[in-house]
Symmetry: C2
Subunit: 369 residues, 2 copies
């Protein structure tokens, strides 16, 4: 028995409709998870997240380990209580952050040694510690510690890192707490199908509550990312959730669901919001553009979010130009609502077995603009 | 008939309990007005303001004149619609901002010429234009354009500026729109009782919907500010609202109400919130202090605000150290709630004719800490 229930699969593509049970509630899939790296989704309150329909959020092990520290969060009752979010939380393990710090980090068999980006202090993270930190945080879905592969990388480099990820995955599995926290394995393999295939076999052989595809959307051509996702998803067991990490644009979500993926996370809606880039059903809108100066319309006339119900493009442009905090708040609410609502529409389309048509309509609406 | 109704006056001090009717609702006095300089109270939504009990907010003519422009706001339906705040709004006239720009502004009989702080362009503001801008914004309470007096200033300097303010006040009065927008006069006079007295006579003689004391809290000793407030308030008509501009600390509010003032505004609760300085019934709290690192208590155990109901000092300190936007949001909600709630308590105390005791208790609670 797994925590994932597959409700239906499209008849003409691998798109799936399911649900994932966690200790803090059941998540309907396919799902997008807003990113709350430092125990807050930047610019919004938990109530905003509830109102805009977010079901599960992501936080980051690496960041919380360094600041404020997992033992502090444990002593205050865990991450849910600390940040006032009672829904499910998935924590990324920190592998990607250590990879991003490659000039000040060193990876060996035992784990990763790195310098804190906050105070420069030397820190060490092992697969076991990564799990223990997430146990202390009390999050619903724990990710194994993995090693990322740079792009481009030779097949030999990719193979070496993928083998290490598999050995670390085993150590994480052995450390999995005996409670209701789920543990997800991560499939690496770089841009090589043979390595992805071997990674799937090794990771599935260890056995996890769900499976993530890591090391995608790291600079490779978009089609290559889609192809590898399709290839890898097809090898994964049907009865477990599939999560593509760090992906992506609205187009990426539509394409990866089409290829059988259930879960996503990305900083794009929140980060772009702060930079004044807004998502709409007809494409993207850059709020500082002078043509919005006196535009009384909402960001998206099709949108039902708080921001679109109450504020004009002209006001939002004013807030952005005046560098007001409310600009980030209102833009973030809108962008997250766009991503969350897109997934709601995707779920309905899969449920009603019209996903291929939905995908076609999605692109057509954008081309009209 | 005036728009101000005096409900009661304390028997042992000039503290007053009243209400002010405006086009967007009736305001209970004494009242504190959160500052929304650029058509947003920094860090909070209008819904946050409603929830924390704000009745009326302040916006700034100078800032909105420069960006986004009053004609733009008029064309979009006025400031209330523009910023999604349906309650009363008072607009400061811009006199204080031009005074603050003294190195790049020049005042003569006609008005003030200054350089925009945004793009350096040369701009001109006359008393008539100041009123016309506020008419375009559609705010509930319009302030006359005044000239501020530096501190210290000689009696001659103070007299000269005060006479000019009176002549400008007359021109503003002649420009007052024939609608339900209220127009408040401003009493200058510097730190000289004789000048304050003459200013009151001149301004009251012109006749306004309410009277403000300007040019206080500009660097003078606190007791001098209180003395001048007491002196000037006693000269003002009982049947009009009295507003001390740009004041102040919780202590200032308590002291000025004690001396017969009805209305206040100050950036302190919002600005200090962003800098991590929080107000409590026992005094001030600097959230970055290391002793709050693992403190599970709310900012103020007596406080019923959203922030205190849901978040620990430890979490708020974490957000502040991590420079998260939510830090400003949560701190601003708390600080504004503190100021708004203080005024609610003040109103109850005046109503029940126990204000002197309230004032005593207010200080005693702080000394205990």
């Amino acid at each position: 028995m797994t925590n994932f229930t597959l409700h239906s699969t499209a008849t003409d593509c691998p798109a799936r409709r399911g649900e994932l049970k966690t200790a803090h509630g059941t998540v309907q899939t396919p799902i997008f998870m807003p990113v709350g790296t430092q125990a807050t989704v930047k610019g919004v309150t938990p109530e905003n997240l509830h109102e805009l329909g977010a079901q599960i959020i992501l936080a980051n092990t690496y960041h919380l380990f360094l600041r404020p520290g997992h033992e502090l969060i444990r002593s205050l009752g865990g991450l849910h209580k600390f940040m006032n979010w009672q829904g499910p939380i998935l924590t990324d393990s920190g592998g990607f952050q250590i990879f991003s710090l490659k000039d000040i980090s060193k990876i060996n068999e035992e784990g990763a040694t790195f310098q804190s980006h906050i105070d420069g202090s030397k820190r060490f993270l092992s697969p076991e510690l990564a799990v223990q930190i997430q146990e202390a945080l009390g999050t619903d879905i724990i990710m194994v510690l993995d090693t990322c592969i740079p792009y481009p990388a030779t097949e030999k480099e990719a193979a070496k890192a993928t083998r290490l990820t598999a050995r670390w995955a085993k150590r994480c599995r052995l450390t999995q707490p005996d409670n209701d926290q789920l543990l997800f394995g991560i499939i690496q393999g770089g841009m090589y199908e043979s390595e992805r295939k071997r990674a799937v076999e090794e990771i599935v052989d260890i056995g996890f509550d769900g499976y993530a595809l890591g090391g995608l959307s790291v600079g490779e051509p978009r089609q290559q990312m889609y192809d590898l996702t399709e290839f890898s998803a097809a090898l994964l067991p049907q009865d477990h959730a599939r999560y593509v990490m760090g992906v992506g644009t609205p187009e990426d979500l539509v394409e990866c669901v089409y290829r059988g993926v259930d879960m996503f996370d990305c900083v794009m809606p929140t980060r772009n919001a702060r930079n004044g880039m807004l998502f709409t059903s007809k494409g993207r809108l850059v709020i500082k553009n002078a043509r919005f100066k006196d535009d009384p319309r909402p960001i998206d006339e099709q949108c039902s979010c708080y921001t679109c119900r109450h504020y004009s493009r002209a006001y939002l442009r004013h807030l952005y130009m005046a560098r007001e905090i409310l600009s980030s708040q209102l833009h973030t609410i809108h962008n997250l609502h766009y991503f969350v609502n897109l997934m709601t529409e995707i779920r309905q389309a899969v449920e009603e077995d019209r996903y291929s048509q939905f995908r076609k309509d999605f692109y057509e609406l954008r081309q009209k603009n």
